[in-house]
């Protein structure tokens, strides 16, 4: 009898501990959910910084490589045009850019690109002036994603510490093949230090020098409803995603981690570069978890962008120099910027 009573007392104690722990977890979880649900909703647009024309599909997505004579829709497209999509996010006290395109002057035309327009000009069609931009989150530091930082004098740059450390590591690695900034004559063929022209690194450096940079270490909420998530090695050493609270649920921007929206949908790697493809898949999973599917994952180079086939981008129009823009979602009370 004594033994049974002792066991009963122990069980009651255990149950009490479990109940308290569960209650604490529930309250904590509820608090988190409540916080994101209470966060302001943002308006989101997408602008096309430029378009790389006629890129072999297989170079972009190995699993979609063209097979002459194939009737499979997975392998019957030879080349694709890749937009360079920049996210424009407005809400609260912020206007945020996710990625910053690349810089071209009249005489600077990267081979095979078209429809380049300066970001300030593209933002003007949304009624946004460069000095209005408060934050820029770069998904990573490659030349076509961090190129126009200096055009936004008031914007604070958010870049992962791991990205800067990755560049430093690569440049100083004691093997010439790994530290190479160029490889074949006339080419920069995917070595770890590739993809960072001195001008682009100088753009990032300029923000740090002017005191307008936040070096992020992992996950960070940069404003209510705007959360940076690390996606290290999912494209570059310090890639990062940006979660945005909107009226259509959570949207997750992914830069080149999410190079292809079809890749996220079909679980295929895209734009391998310096990518650890396992990390890229884990980042895809993160989008499914955060947004509840693949529809709200925003890809940087999806060829179907601005068409009905990529639904979140279908509310689109043609802007400066034939570049495209899309109105993704409006916050309550926000007026449409789509030309009538």
């Amino acid at each position: 009898m004594t033994h049974h009573r002792a066991v009963g007392v122990e069980m009651t104690k255990s149950l009490r501990v479990i109940a308290i722990a569960t209650a604490v977890a529930l309250i904590g979880g509820l608090g988190t959910v409540t916080t994101q649900a209470q966060a302001p909703q943002y308006s989101v647009w997408l602008v096309e910084s430029s378009r790389f024309m006629g890129v072999p599909f297989g170079a972009f997505m190995p699993d979609r490589a063209f097979v002459p004579g194939s009737t499979s829709p997975m392998n019957n497209i030879n080349t694709v045009d890749l937009p360079v999509n920049v996210g424009v996010i407005k809400g609260g006290n912020d206007i945020v850019l996710y990625d910053a395109g690349w810089k071209a002057q009249d005489y600077l035309k990267m081979t095979g690109s078209a429809h380049w327009a300066p970001l300030p000009q593209q933002l003007a069609q949304l009624g946004i002036k460069p000095e209005d931009v408060t934050k820029i989150v770069i998904g990573h530091g490659h030349w076509d994603h961090a190129g126009q930082l200096s055009d936004f004098p008031n914007a604070v740059l958010y870049v992962q510490k791991a990205e800067l450390e990755g560049i430093e590591w690569a440049l100083n690695y004691p093997h010439p093949r790994i530290s190479a900034v160029n490889t074949s004559p006339g080419g920069c063929a995917r070595s770890p230090a590739c993809g960072y022209p001195p001008l682009t690194l100088a753009e990032i450096y300029g923000k740090v020098l002017s005191g307008k940079a936040v070096i992020v270490d992992g996950q960070r909420e940069i404003a209510p409803g705007l959360i940076i998530h690390p996606a290290h090695r999912a494209h570059t050493a310090g890639s990062q995603l940006l979660q945005v609270n909107t009226a259509i649920g959570q949207i997750l921007f992914g830069s080149d981690v999410f190079s292809s929206w079809e890749g996220i949908r079909d679980w295929m790697i895209a734009n391998p570069q310096q990518t650890d493809t396992v990390q890229q898949f884990l980042a895809y999973e993160k989008c499914y978890k955060i947004t509840g599917g693949f529809q709200n994952c925003v890809a940087a180079h999806e060829p179907l962008s601005y068409t009905d086939k990529y639904p979140i981008t279908k509310n689109s129009w043609v802007g400066p120099n034939g570049s495209r823009a899309a109105e993704v979602v409006l916050a309550p009370g926000e007026m449409s910027r789509k030309p009538k």
């Binding site: 006629g54 972009f60 081979t111 030349w143 590739c194 100088a202 601005y306």
Partner: protein
């Protein structure tokens, strides 16, 4: 009389013409409405798609010059990246002044060697401007390095701030020249 009755039953020419014209106008409007309803932004974008004509190939002498400058460019580019990354690491507290000085002095050495090597090249007439521009870029990087290294003496960040526009200018030139000589240097990233 019979002819007059027949004539009275036939619609007048004016009415006929009016009906034809009206029909044609309505037809045009109908076609336009159908077209407007079916044109998508994507279709409009496709219509605006430029026909990119292939770039003219470099001549053999131009290509020889580009190939000769390429290894020099690799060194200049690597030197510039290490110098800028050094400035970044210093500002982020990961490099001290002595280490930054070493990094910058190494870069300066690279630029001096590059300038000497470039001096030995003989560009074809069509490349003389690019040759001059590239020499200017190297000079600007060297000037930037000279300013940056002063921070190791007095610890004042204003040297870095003063040096920065020189690096930016040099970086623009590198891309400008590279776009002509090595157009495949930067692929979509």
């Amino acid at each position: 009389m019979k002819g007059a009755r027949i004539m009275a039953r036939l619609p007048s020419v004016k009415v006929l013409l009016f009906t034809l014209v009206l029909g044609a106008l309505l037809g045009i409007i109908g076609v336009a409405l159908v077209r407007e309803a079916t044109i998508t932004p994507a279709a409009t974008a496709r219509a605006l798609r430029p026909t990119l004509s292939p770039r003219p190939a470099l001549t053999p002498v131009e290509e020889a010059y580009a190939l000769a400058l390429w290894p020099i460019h690799n060194e200049v580019k690597a030197g510039a990246l290490r110098m800028i990354a050094g400035g970044l690491s210093y500002k982020l507290g990961q490099l001290d002044r002595a280490a930054l000085k070493t990094r910058i002095e190494t870069a300066r050495d690279t630029y001096r060697k590059a300038a000497a090597s470039i001096g030995t090249l003989e560009p074809p007439p069509s490349m003389v401007k690019h040759h001059g521009d590239y020499r200017e870029a190297v000079r600007l990087y060297e000037q930037s390095a000279r300013e940056m290294v002063r921070v190791s003496d007095d610890g004042r960040d204003e040297h870095l701030v003063r040096a920065h526009p020189l690096s930016m200018q040099a970086g623009v030139i590198l891309l400008k020249v590279g776009n002509e000589l090595w157009p495949t240097e930067y692929k979509p990233n």
